[in-house]
């Protein structure tokens, strides 16, 4: 389906008609409240009425009981049941983009013209941890029990490897945090809006050597929503605003043998019988989104990447093709990925300024790209942004990338 998604001349592409968010924070309220705010903001931004929405795709949360497992239905009920079609997606950190993909597929299949996507979460304090109870056949439970292997510990392994292989320094990692903190200062949806220095970062407590507290993303409450529609529908309702098109969306699995240790595994696949694939897991997610959109890394104006840690942002530079392996430190040192640089990364402030609200996060990335491509991003605007990519990764082989173009 190379190049067809969103670009078809027959009016069957997909347009991002509306985007809306509830500010990230630690509000301690029910996740449905935040989702409702984001959904209504997206509907208003689209200039349509809730009754116009034909399909609701919810991204599930597993930390808020049954209403979270059936998020599509929960949000549809909260907005007022209208007889719309619904779906719910759970895919760890890629839940939001799988929900977007459900809506895209319905529109591309001609089964609906306009869809609402909503993700929202209320999170507990501290490390993300498995649910209570003993589960000796659950890898995610066992890695805590037998190793004390938290998510930041995996991030620490990746960061330390960059130091030994590429000569990355703790100051390089800290510089990513400093950049993202500066980007998010004026973002009304960001939780942390405070400038910091390399010295501040390096003075914070060690969590997973070489990563310190200020380099690891928090867990947050927050919600994001999108209204997607067909090209034909957008022409009827959108007026003069530039159309932002969703031209690529990948939810690629790893390819066996996956030879990078990933959450929540105890070991990688063995490559004893079959050679590893030429492109790694995260590279292959980006590759597929580029292929669908018919663009490449050289076309990117802006990117939102999943900076679960400051050092992980550097891995993403290489995985989305901004530079060769080992080249990422130079990009952040030279300001290439800062606002005003050649390819600003995480102009929203990224997870460094938001913290992670799992089912909302991938949707929030697409909201930011939408505003960037419309030229509505205020003092964090990337001048002349035309092509944007978001990319993320979660437990159990989940990952996603989205490309928007205008």
């Amino acid at each position: 389906m190379s190049g067809v998604a969103g670009q078809a001349a027959d009016g069957r592409g997909v347009v991002v008609l509306g985007a809306g968010m509830h500010p990230w924070g630690k509000w301690g309220r029910n996740f449905v409240e935040y989702g409702l705010v984001a959904a209504q903001a997206a509907i208003d931004d689209a200039g349509i009425d809730w009754r116009d929405v034909q399909f609701v795709a919810g991204a599930a949360t597993v930390r808020n009981g049954y209403p979270g497992y059936v998020a599509g239905s929960t949000f549809a009920q909260a907005l007022g049941w209208t007889g719309a079609q619904i779906s719910t997606s759970y895919a760890a950190c890629a839940s939001g983009s799988q929900a977007v993909n459900s809506a895209r597929a319905m529109i591309l299949a001609g089964l609906c013209e306009v869809a609402l996507v909503v993700g929202s979460d209320t999170t507990p304090k501290g490390f993300l941890k498995p649910a209570d109870g003993e589960r000796w056949d659950d890898t995610d439970w066992l890695r805590f029990r037998l190793l004390g292997m938290t998510n930041p510990a995996y991030f620490g392994l990746y960061a330390r490897r960059r130091m030994d292989l590429y000569g990355a320094t703790e100051a390089d990692f800290a510089q990513v945090k400093v950049k993202n903190a500066a980007h998010g200062l004026g973002n009304p949806y960001a939780r942390y809006r405070k400038a910091c220095t390399v010295e501040d970062v390096l003075a914070s407590p060690m969590v997973a050597d070489p990563l310190r507290l200020l380099q690891i993303c928090a867990t947050s409450d927050g919600a994001a929503a999108l209204v997607l529609c067909s090209e034909a529908y957008a022409r009827r309702v959108a007026g003069a605003r530039p159309a932002v098109r969703l031209t690529g969306l990948a939810t690629t699995t790893p390819t066996f043998p996956q030879t990078t240790i990933e959450m929540p595994e105890f070991a990688t696949d063995s490559a004893a019988a079959l050679a590893p694939p030429a492109r790694g897991f995260k590279e292959s997610i980006a590759d597929e989104a580029y292929r669908q959109a018919g663009v490449g890394p050289e076309d990117l104006s802006v990117a939102e990447v999943y900076d679960l840690s400051s050092a992980l942002e550097l891995d993403w530079y290489e995985q989305i093709g901004l530079c060769e392996p080992g080249g990422a430190e130079a990009l952040v040192r030279d300001g290439v990925t800062a606002l005003g640089g050649r390819v600003p990364v995480n102009p929203s402030g990224g997870l460094a300024c938001f913290g992670e609200a799992v089912p909302a996060q991938a949707i929030a990335q697409v909201c930011e790209l939408t505003w960037q491509l419309r030229g509505e991003a205020g003092d964090r605007q990337v001048a002349g942004a035309r092509v944007g990519m978001s990319i993320n990764q979660g437990l159990f082989g989940h990952g996603s990338a989205v490309i928007l173009t205008r």
Partner: protein, 161 residues
């Protein structure tokens, strides 16, 4: 070790004899793919449809893929000592199996004692004590010749900064 009763922290994953520590995996009898933790349901090589596996002892030595630490006590179900003492975690490349296996480093190992490529070997230590019984787990121990002292690593890091 103590006089307390001892048992592996999980059955079937390790030989918990400190004199002869081993990790137990499985190997597909058709294509030769190794698995840890051991699994024998179906081979995950997409070109192989085997459901036949043999139990194998994995290599007891490997090289550091990377290393990190647990600066804060991991949440339950990890059973952390009180007061908490940070520990080091290692990802180790096994040459024959062509896979990377995680483990804690033996007590007292600092993350900056190890570098990517250093050689480590299996050891057995107590993970936690429950109802007076020591639960034993595999750990990775630096092989003396390959390990550097903290001072050496610190000074080379500073020189590179």
């Amino acid at each position: 070790m103590t006089d307390r009763a001892q048992r592996p922290a999980i059955e079937g994953w390790l030989v918990s004899d400190p004199a002869r520590p081993r990790l137990l995996g499985t190997r597909c009898t058709a294509c030769g793919t190794y698995y840890f933790p051991p699994q024998s349901s179906a081979c995950r090589n997409p070109d192989c449809r085997s459901r036949s596996f043999e139990q194998v002892e994995l290599s007891e030595r490997g090289r550091v893929w990377s290393v990190t630490s647990a600066g804060y006590a991991p949440p339950p179900p990890y059973i952390a000592p009180d007061p908490y003492v940070p520990f080091t975690l290692v990802a180790v490349e096994l040459e024959r199996e062509r896979m990377v296996v995680l483990g804690q480093a033996v007590s007292g190992t600092q993350p900056r004692d190890l570098r990517v490529g250093d050689e480590v070997e299996l050891a057995i230590e107590t993970l936690c004590t429950i109802d007076g019984e020591d639960h034993l787990i595999w750990k990775w121990r630096p092989v003396a010749a390959g390990a550097k002292t903290s001072d050496e690593v610190t000074s080379s890091t500073e020189a590179g900064a």
